[in-house]
């Protein structure tokens, strides 16, 4: 037998062994799923950050110990593909029992929620049994045990008037700094509190780089991280303008009013507040590494933890990862924005934006196709109870979502600051896909190394209005689609009899109010857009 033959046999043998192992794994898994004594609950999320998976694993094992015959499986799917994965899983009927809802899933339409998720309204009105020994939370309805009263999307759908998710955390954004480097550069112990101090710190960093010959940048930027800083600056400049555009007198930010305000000529790129915002974006953009717009979240994080940049703007979700990777001491401060007494920018500002409206996050929705609905609800109750959420916050280092759960010391600076004013708007309005694309396509003209406000305006101006109109048209269409889909639920509640059924009456009342509001809003948008043609 020659060597070639032997090697072929070895190859074939290896292939055979691999096949047998794979077949065995598939078979044993299928057998497990058929096992009547074993219930497998699967939950999926996109939080690949340090500590979260381990925390969920720990909670899952704890739950399994107290619930024999139950196995909890965690699926961590990268955020980059989560949107596509989520939709295909739902449509294909292979979705896990619980799926994280929010940014990673993209726009959650009424249709998607209503068709593929189970409303949990009936459960959230009851106390969470796992809170039985938790003092003040013991008898409270489950929804009231959350810091935001479960009143925000995606946990609650104002349009469908149903609860769809249970949260585990909360998210805010801060500026991380390399405390060792900060000490070397600034020689101070306190991070900047005003915008002027912030700029001065960045200038000192530039000077330090030149003097010491070290490749240190003031800010680690990327297309993911930069907006947390530059958008916040722009939004601070449009605080007063937002209130001026507030057609509906809600004293807050309404994207449709801002968009219509632009189309009506109430503001444009030459509006002083807008120009001021662009100037700030341009100034701070120059402090980030050249070409940062082509970089992603991981790249910016890499720069920062390698000590190549002094500052990084990111959310509370990155806290554990940064702590784990950085070989230096980390500090955190709130992004300093120009104050009302600023000589140039003060006239546009109301004050630091309030974070009181920060909704709870890391929300899990129960899929309609789940065969373990009761188990899923019970597991959600377990992880979102006061003891469960305390364990979660302690182990993951993330913010808690439940009343009375203390944040750990490291994450405490991320707790929402409730004192503050209504935020202004940014050019890439939230929920406006085409507008965001146009702004993003021209952002290099503003924050690139040779960028300027004039160049950005020249690039974005011709397409911005059309992009806003296109998004408003889509919003009107989706609004009508949502209104249309309510007819069946309304009829069902009507047939249940409003006179004798208080629940049906309340539901009908909320649904008809939502439907009428959606229709009038959509028609108003169409009317305004038609008049612009």
């Amino acid at each position: 037998m020659n060597w070639e033959r032997i090697s072929n046999m070895i190859g074939l043998g290896l292939l055979g062994v691999c096949f047998c192992i794979a077949a065995n794994r598939v078979m044993s898994r299928a057998a497990e799923q058929r096992d009547p004594n074993l219930q497998i609950l699967k939950f999926a999320h996109w939080q690949l950050e340090s500590g979260v998976r381990a925390t969920f694993d720990e909670l899952a094992r704890e739950y399994e110990r107290s619930h024999p015959g139950v196995r909890i499986e965690q699926l961590a799917i990268p955020e980059r593909i989560f949107k596509n994965w989520h939709r295909t899983q739902l449509i294909g009927g292979n979705a896990p029992d619980l799926i994280q809802l929010g940014q990673g899933t993209g726009g959650l339409t009424d249709e998607l929620l209503a068709r593929y998720y189970t409303p949990i309204s009936q459960f959230v009105e009851l106390p969470n049994p796992y809170n039985a020994g938790s003092g003040e939370l013991a008898g409270l309805p489950w929804r009231e045990t959350f810091l935001d009263g479960l009143s925000n999307t995606p946990a609650y759908s104002d349009s469908l008037v149903e609860y769809y998710g249970i949260p585990a955390s909360m998210f805010t954004v801060r500026v991380y700094y390399n405390a060792d480097l900060f000490q070397k550069i600034a020689g101070a112990s306190q991070p900047p509190r005003t915008y002027e101090d912030f700029i001065a710190l960045c200038q000192k960093t530039e000077a330090y780089r030149t003097a010491e010959g070290e490749s240190v940048l003031p800010i680690a930027g990327s297309k993911y991280n930069a907006p947390y800083m530059i958008d916040a600056l722009f939004a601070s400049m449009t605080q007063r303008l937002t209130l001026k555009l507030d057609t509906f007198h809600i004293m807050g930010l309404d994207g449709n009013s801002v968009a219509l305000g632009f189309l009506d000529g109430q503001w444009n790129w030459q509006t002083p507040a807008v120009e001021a915002g662009l100037n700030l974006m341009n100034a701070v953009g120059q402090l980030m590494q050249p070409g940062f717009l082509q970089l992603g979240r991981d790249d910016a994080l890499f720069y920062f933890v390698q000590g190549r940049a002094l500052l990084l703007a990111s959310g509370s979700w990155d806290s554990s990862s940064i702590e784990a990777q950085a070989p230096f001491k980390i500090g955190v401060f709130t992004m300093p924005l120009p104050r009302t007494d600023h000589s140039q920018y003060g006239q546009f500002v109301l004050g630091h934006p309030s974070e009181a409206g920060t909704g709870t996050g890391l929300v899990f929705g129960l899929t309609a196709g789940s065969k373990n609905q009761d188990l899923a609800i019970d597991f959600l109750r377990f992880i979102s109870s006061q003891p469960g959420n305390t364990r979660f916050a302690e182990m993951s280092g993330w913010l808690p979502a439940v009343v009375g759960v203390p944040p750990n010391d490291r994450i405490a600076p991320f707790m929402p600051i409730t004192e503050g004013y209504t935020a202004g708007f940014v050019p890439a309005l939230s929920g406006f896909a085409d507008t965001a694309r146009i702004v993003s396509n021209h952002m290099h003209r503003l924050v690139g190394q040779t960028g300027s406000v004039a160049e950005f305006i020249e690039g974005v101006q011709p397409d911005y209005g059309e992009a806003l109109a296109s998004d408003l048209r889509r919003k009107a269409k989706n609004g009508l689609r949502n209104a249309e889909s309510k007819d069946t639920s309304l009829a069902a509640n009507w047939v249940l009899g409003l006179e004798d059924n208080a629940e049906a009456r309340a539901k009908f009342d909320q649904l008809i109010e939502a439907q009428n509001a959606q229709e009038q809003s959509a028609y108003y948008l169409r009317l305004k857009l038609e008049s612009k043609r």
Binding site: N84, L90, P290, G291, L293, Q294, R437, H444, G448
Partner: protein
Amino acid sequence: MAIRVSNPKALHEWRLYLFLLPSFLLIGTFSYFPALSAIYHSFFDWQGGDSRKFIGLDNFRRIATDKVLWGSFLTIAILVIANIVKMIPSIVMAVMVHRLKSDRWQYWYRVLLVVPMIVPGLVTLFIWKFFFDPNMGVLNRVLDVTGLKSLLVALDAHLFHWGVFLPDVPIAWLSQPDLIIPALILWGFPWIGAVGVLIYLAGLQSIGVEVYEAAELDGAGPFQRFLHIELPLITTQIRLSLVLLVIGTLQGFGLQLLLLGEGGGAGGRGMVPGLWMFNRAFVAGEFGYACAIGMVLFVFILVLTLINNKYVRVDK
């Protein structure tokens, strides 16, 4: 030429056709069904869920005035032409490997070509993304070290006035609109595709030794041998590669999505039809419209394939 077989003869061992059934079933399920479903849904206002409203040709009417889509065809046309040019290194490589005297070395070169195929495509994309990093990327390092950066800066300043290569500013390959298409073209350098080389090699190996001997007697040099023997005799393979390349380039958008994001990058210069289709479906939630874009793309690919088959002739 195909041989005609009578029906009774063809059906004599009819059971053998059953062996084709699994293949047909798989192709039908995973290739034809999605395609037919896309055709069907292109006539609907559909958000990707269960509910959909029949709107006839509205999606196609909208396509007629979609500036982004038609603009993206210009980008893809440039990339198709560039990719056709990028076939040359693979052909040259195949000829070089084929001409190696030692069978052993030929074998090892083939192995070396195949090894990178084991690396998942996504990893290759990430590596290239890192290559293009303005501050830490290999590409800018190479340009700096070799002095090519200074040459580019000088050419920019004094001759072409592109305004993209500046002294002391790292080149932002993927966030500078004018550099996006060059960067996409540069991607994959030195453009030696393993599959392409193997296909050409298969063609080259079918050329008989006597042909080379005759050429040698006629005094044909290496280049003439390539031009008059090898190139004509691998035209079938080149045509196949060309069809696959055109289809792949027109359909593909993974490279643009990963390097530039859902919006096509700075100035939208990296927007290609496939990416726009993805953008409409997963960013705007307009799945019906995305299907209609897919249909237009299908027609383009079909027309280009027909043109290719008609005009890229194989003379045996």
